[in-house]
């Protein structure tokens, strides 16, 4: 058993949610690093795959999931829905990971020129909040453009066939479209000077019962992150084996994602709060939330201390 709360001889199963994305967590899964590390403390690992952010929170609410990594918008929605989880670190600040892109040959050069245009976006995604922030910064009201709610696989044909004029989307689509079809990035978090962080989350009850496992989780993640940085070519090769998409695309995506494992900084909290408020104003959230309520940096701090020593 990992700690005093569970009886000896009883093995704990840790449920980790993962997406088929390009990132260290996926690498760690492929390499079996979590299994190795958790076996040492007598815990088993159960990987659960998700196709998008919201189901993570359904699974947490059903006590079926313990860990996961999701984007900035899903955590806000999850918190507003009253799901009991904690953000225990960020996985990146998303300077390039989300963007508003326009197709090759588009005359749109500035955000202002989006006025009256059709923009595809998956509602409730990180790109969604980025889009609204961008519009806001450009002095446009949401009603000045036509928002077309589309999931990526529907948005792609709409974008490529010219049915929409712009697309607020994440990687690998940004890289795919820019590298292979000559699309252009109109704005991203960096150009807008905002944050679109990703988070590592844990089910609160689990964190209370097994705090040491939470630390261990972050430690393994850090290792994976380090490995990816040091063996970039090998990592690209791994992803390529699984995904079969252009290696240069993969490389760009890895570099764009700027993966980290870091505490949730006040900057991040502030950016999250403004996104939450903004979603509330849009009527998409039915209550106002305090995003700092789900932040818990104690675990990541412990990891950093131990690796620091």
């Amino acid at each position: 058993a990992a700690n005093g709360t569970s009886a000896p001889g009883q093995t704990i199963t840790v449920n980790i949610g993962v997406q088929q994305s390009i990132g260290p967590l996926w690498l760690a899964r492929e390499k079996g690093w979590y299994e190795q590390a958790f076996a040492k403390v007598g815990a088993k690992v159960n990987w659960i795959e998700f196709q998008s952010g919201p189901p993570y929170f359904q699974a947490i609410a059903s006590n079926r999931l313990d860990f996961g990594q999701v984007g900035n918008a899903p955590v806000i929605v999850g918190q507003a829905a009253g799901v009991d989880f904690k953000e225990i670190g960020i996985t990146g600040t998303g300077r390039y990971g989300d963007a508003i892109i326009v197709p090759k040959g588009s005359h749109v050069q500035t955000l202002q020129e989006l006025k009256g245009k059709k923009i595809a976006v998956a509602k409730g995604s990180a790109a969604y909040s980025l889009l609204y922030t961008a519009l806001d910064k450009a002095g446009l009201k949401p009603s000045d453009v036509q928002i077309v709610p589309l999931q990526p696989n529907e948005a792609q044909p709409a974008f490529e066939s010219g049915a929409v004029d712009a697309w607020a989307i994440w990687d690998p689509f940004i890289t795919l479209e820019t590298q292979q079809h000559g699309a252009r990035v109109l704005a991203n978090a960096k150009s807008l000077g905002v944050l679109v962080p990703g988070f590592t989350i844990v089910r609160t009850q689990f964190a209370k019962q097994h705090p040491d496992l939470v630390v261990l989780f972050l430690q393994v993640y850090q290792q994976a992150l380090n490995w990816q940085k040091q063996h970039l070519d090998e990592a690209v090769e791994e992803y390529y084996k699984a995904r079969k998409i252009d290696k240069s695309v993969i490389r760009t995506v890895i570099l764009n994602s700027e993966s980290v494992s870091a505490p949730v900084t006040p900057d991040v909290v502030a950016s999250q709060q403004s996104t939450a408020d903004f979603l509330y104003r849009l009527g998409e959230l039915n209550r106002r939330i305090d995003v700092s309520a789900v932040v818990d940096n104690s675990f990541i701090n412990k990891v950093n201390q131990s690796s620091g020593t």
């Binding site: 609410a61 998956a122 509602k123 589309l150 066939s161 049915a163």
Partner: protein, 291 residues
């Protein structure tokens, strides 16, 4: 043989050939139920009893905190969300739009399904050429071909209506086809003797004979059309019940999702009842087992 057992298997002592003996069925069997479930209102009550029980249990479970509100909101909260949506007029608009889409899709797909089913039923050659392809297309998931629909038909109403039509096509196709192939060969011989022309062959023999199956296909097709909205309205809509659900679930507004489900269930049941009513009217000539 145990007579009380027999009573259950043969609820009607007389066959229900007409209204009078239909009444007799109720009168003669299960006298216990007679008072509670007699007549039209009684039938309604009978049908509603199961949902009401479930609803009550659900509310109790919610009140006791057994069901997490995020995933399964209490009936009271769902009603509250319903009232909210109705008061803004949003819901009525959503339903209107969705009904129109489903209707057009159903009309298009259903009509084609019926026509192809007829043609394939009537001609072995038509069947040989088209049926294998149709059966292949039948099990292609809608969710996976929406990109193609967007590519070909854009983001407007057309692609939604066509996607719904695609779904509505198959049940009517298969049922019409089977209905035709169930037509009694003896009656077909009569039609040949009387030299029915194409039109009469269809309208006076095949259609009425296949009607029970066609109406069944109609029921299934209507259901599928209605369900098709969920996927169709993923394609860039900003109104409709499917959109309502999709949007609410992106933002974890579970009680709104349930309002959407409620509407799906209600409209589904209504359209089904409509076809059943039609069935009773159109198949009066039948002499078949009444249950």
């Amino acid at each position: 043989m145990n007579p009380s057992n027999q009573d259950a298997v043969y609820p009607a002592v007389g066959m229900s050939r007409n209204a009078a003996s239909d009444r007799a069925v109720t009168r003669l069997s299960h006298p216990r139920f007679q008072r509670a479930f007699a007549g039209r209102g009684g039938k309604l009550l009978q049908g509603a009893s199961l949902p009401l029980v479930v609803l009550a249990l659900w509310q109790v479970a919610s009140s006791l905190g057994w069901a997490p509100e995020t995933l399964l909101p209490s009936p009271v909260n769902i009603v509250r969300a319903l009232a909210d949506l109705v008061s803004t007029g949003e819901l009525v608009h959503d339903i209107e739009i969705s009904l129109l889409r489903a209707l057009f899709g159903f009309l298009l797909g259903g009509t084609l399904g019926f026509a192809f089913g007829m043609a394939a039923g009537l001609s072995k050659h038509f069947e040989g050429f088209t049926d294998p392809t149709i059966q292949m297309v039948r099990t292609i998931p809608h969710l996976a071909i929406t990109p193609l629909f967007i590519l070909w038909f854009g983001l407007g109403e057309w692609s939604k209506v066509l996607l719904i039509a695609l779904g509505a096509f198959f049940p009517l196709y298969v049922n019409t086809f089977t209905g035709i192939r169930n037509v009694d060969a003896k009656l077909f011989e009569v039609a040949r003797i009387l030299e029915f022309n194409r039109l009469h062959l269809v309208t006076r023999l095949m259609l009425p004979a296949a009607l029970p199956n066609i109406l069944l296909g109609l029921r299934l097709s209507l259901g599928v059309s209605w369900l098709g909205l969920v996927v169709a309205e993923l394609m860039g809509s900003s109104a409709g019940v499917g959109y309502l659900i999709e949007n609410a679930s992106q933002f974890s507004q579970t009680s709104v999702v349930f309002v959407g489900l409620l509407i799906f269930a209600a409209v589904g049941k209504l359209s089904d009842s409509l076809v059943r009513w039609l069935e009773r009217r159109l198949l009066r000539w039948r002499d078949s087992y009444g249950g």
